[in-house]
Symmetry: C2
Subunit: 432 residues, 2 copies
């Protein structure tokens, strides 16, 4: 039995996927039973590094999802439309779908999985999070025996590259971003990466799998890294931390009946934490559960080869099921989406965390007392208050709090802003 693939998109990941499928020797023998039946692209005449006969290539993407010969549609277009509509149409035609599209799954997963369950087809997305790192399937399968308590990831390579470079070179955000754009590690419009939106898409997907409920993408609290300065990185270093953009999902009671914390923000990570040493474009995802303890998955979070590796693993998974299932199989409950309800998400005001805040102040002798009073007025207990440097006439003071309610911390800051000695609050970051 040969399984026929319809490939939508022949960009970086599409090309990598085609290269694996066209050159199966030395890989899992199952790959020899897969053929690329049609390839849909926007510009069929564009020169490409992988060659197909002219009759395989088409710009009519709808013809691919409707082609009765195709068993699996592999959507590697990216973006919301036409990707979403094509995925839904492929499902309606009872084709299995493999996608790397985190944006579509994070926003339309509910609609897509309901349709897929009704049609009795799989929608697999190993490539949507963590590039070549196997994380989706382990969360669905190997870790399912656990009550998952936390998923914490460095899941955006661009921002991790920028923060790593800022740390190594002591450079400021805008300079490193320009360099990253020159090297192709950041897009011309870097918004999705640097503002944390891409990481938010991905943690929405991971949380849904780990905590067994659907997640609304807009429930993910999200701060990017534009506000992180070279000064903060240097002060964090003195305090024993590195700054990373973390995506965090936390729950208390495992699957079903619980509320989740879901957030993406730059975070001070203790230097001896396993995530602290993940540098450059690499990704890592730490999963904690009971009785497992902690496991961490580390690897290349993007790029043609790694992402294609994940895409092809999903294709192989479906091919293996097609070859081994007998007549009238139903969907494998470990590979399909079995949960229907939406997770309750704790609003950011209700979350407790440690904070780092940097203040520019005049009138040094009095100001630490005033800061301490204002924090105390709002039950914000402090771990350290350090006068860490000067900027011209002004003193720089860095405060690290204990675990405190976000609401209390914000109320204290509002009071502190009214103090005459406080000239500005250049940065507020969270501490792991």
């Amino acid at each position: 039995m040969v399984v026929k693939i319809g490939l939508l998109g022949l960009g970086t990941v599409g090309t990598g996927t085609a290269q694996i499928l066209l050159d199966p020797s030395g890989r899992n023998p199952l790959l020899k039973d897969i053929t690329i039946h049609r390839v849909g692209v926007r510009s069929p005449d564009k020169p490409r590094s992988v060659q197909f006969p002219p009759e395989v290539i088409t710009s009519d993407l709808k013809a691919i999802v409707n082609d009765p010969d195709i068993d699996i549609v592999v959507e590697l277009l990216g973006g919301l439309e036409p990707a979403r509509s094509l995925i839904l149409q492929a499902i309606a035609q009872k084709k299995h779908v493999v996608t790397a599209n985190k944006a579509v799954i994070a926003r339309y997963g509910d609609e897509i999985y309901n349709s897929a369950n009704q049609a009795g087809v799989y929608v697999l997305l190993e490539a949507a999070v963590g590039g070549g790192i196997p994380i989706i399937k382990p969360l669905k399968q190997s870790l399912g025996a656990n009550r998952i308590t936390q998923i914490i990831g460095i899941i955006n390579g661009t921002t991790n590259y920028i923060l790593s470079e800022m740390t190594t070179a002591g450079a400021d955000f805008s300079d490193v971003l320009a360099e990253a754009q020159r090297l192709g590690y950041a897009e011309a419009d870097p918004t999705a990466d640097v503002d944390g939106l891409d990481a938010a898409d991905k943690i929405a997907i991971l949380a849904s799998l780990g905590f067994g409920g659907r997640v609304q993408r807009e429930d993910v609290y999200c701060e990017g890294i534009r506000q992180v300065s070279a000064a903060d990185i240097a002060y964090a270093d003195k305090l024993g931390f590195v700054i990373k953009l973390l995506a965090i999902a936390k729950g208390s009671g495992g699957q079903e009946s619980q509320t989740l914390e879901l957030r993406v923000h730059p975070t001070l990570v203790p230097k001896d934490h396993p995530l602290a040493s993940i540098n450059g474009v690499y990704n890592a995802i730490l999963v904690a559960g009971d009785p497992l303890g902690q496991v961490m998955f580390y690897g290349p979070g993007a790029g043609s080869g790694p992402t294609a590796s994940a895409v092809v693993s999903d294709i192989m998974n479906i091919v293996a099921i097609l070859k081994s299932s007998g007549q009238t199989p139903t969907l494998d409950p470990l590979l399909s989406c079995v949960h229907q309800h939406f997770c309750q998400i704790t609003p950011i005001e209700g979350i407790k965390s440690r904070f780092y805040a940097r203040f520019l102040t005049g009138d040094l002798p009095g100001v630490i007392g005033h800061l301490g009073m204002s924090f105390g007025n709002h039950q914000v207990s402090l771990e350290s208050v350090v006068q860490i440097g000067f900027q011209g006439e002004l003193a720089e003071i860095v405060v690290v709090t204990h675990n405190v309610g976000e609401g209390n911390f914000r109320a204290a800051l509002a009071e502190i802003r009214t103090l005459e000695a406080i000239k500005s609050i250049p940065s507020i970051l969270r501490v792991l």
Copy 2:
């Protein structure tokens, strides 16, 4: 449909497994469809931390593998016999098998998988390597799109704990071993761990999965850590390395037609290598492949909870297949053993690596020249020769070679042993 488990063994891992299965809330909903039908133990009357009705417990292990009501036999006895015979009998009775027994699989995998394929049942062993770290299933499934080039693991927690403690405390092997035994991190008879036998069992299994061929356990070259001294750890540190017991499988061309290197030995690992920072009883496995690059899996390599998590994930996997497959399914080629041939293994003499050797010498002015000559005579090119300290009257010289053939290196050492100035060669280690 409720799936019935026959559990063989109620030691640490058996108890952990029972605890998960008896308390499914908050875990994957599939666990609610699993019941522990019978439990086989050596001493039915022994008090236990998990309770079963008396009719569930038996000391007649054969009755469990022959019980027609049981769907899955979970073998957690450890040791070679009766584990091997019970696994084979369960297979003959067409029961699926889940095991944590690396010793049996590494030695009798060929026999067991042939029987399982003939009977049409699964033998899953996620818990046999890396405790709670998902590594077996990712190697079978998610990474299969790649041509795997290397698998390098820290896969024995006891030796990693001992080496970590020796590094932190500057203590010698025997003192740390005694402490590890006191803490329960090492067995009363530590042979299987400290002589590398356990790690060799595990790398034989990983190599077989990653490189797609069967592996003879006796083909794994194996050195333990008894010869590693506090002095070597200190010198390695000065040279920029930490010493780890690594299990290494290397191939060149992916699956099928290739020869493999397979070895377990203490190794100098550069401090900036991802495996260098894996300390204590933690395990980590690095897998490199094309086009993936490198991924690393990190977590608790042993213990009741983590190992039970892996056992239960295998049980869930089989339950999911039983629930979703239609009539007359065949074995899923990504979960069963599809390869029949044995891998060709390069004998250790044919392997190239970098070496670290420590010499105790007299007559310092002449000896470095003599050492250099002897190595040169056998085409062993040197990276560094450092006189690193004194022991009484004798000088200590540490040599690090470039990548050289094991045979050449040993021939050079044989010549060096005849030099009058060389009093002894206390350690020879490999360098990653």
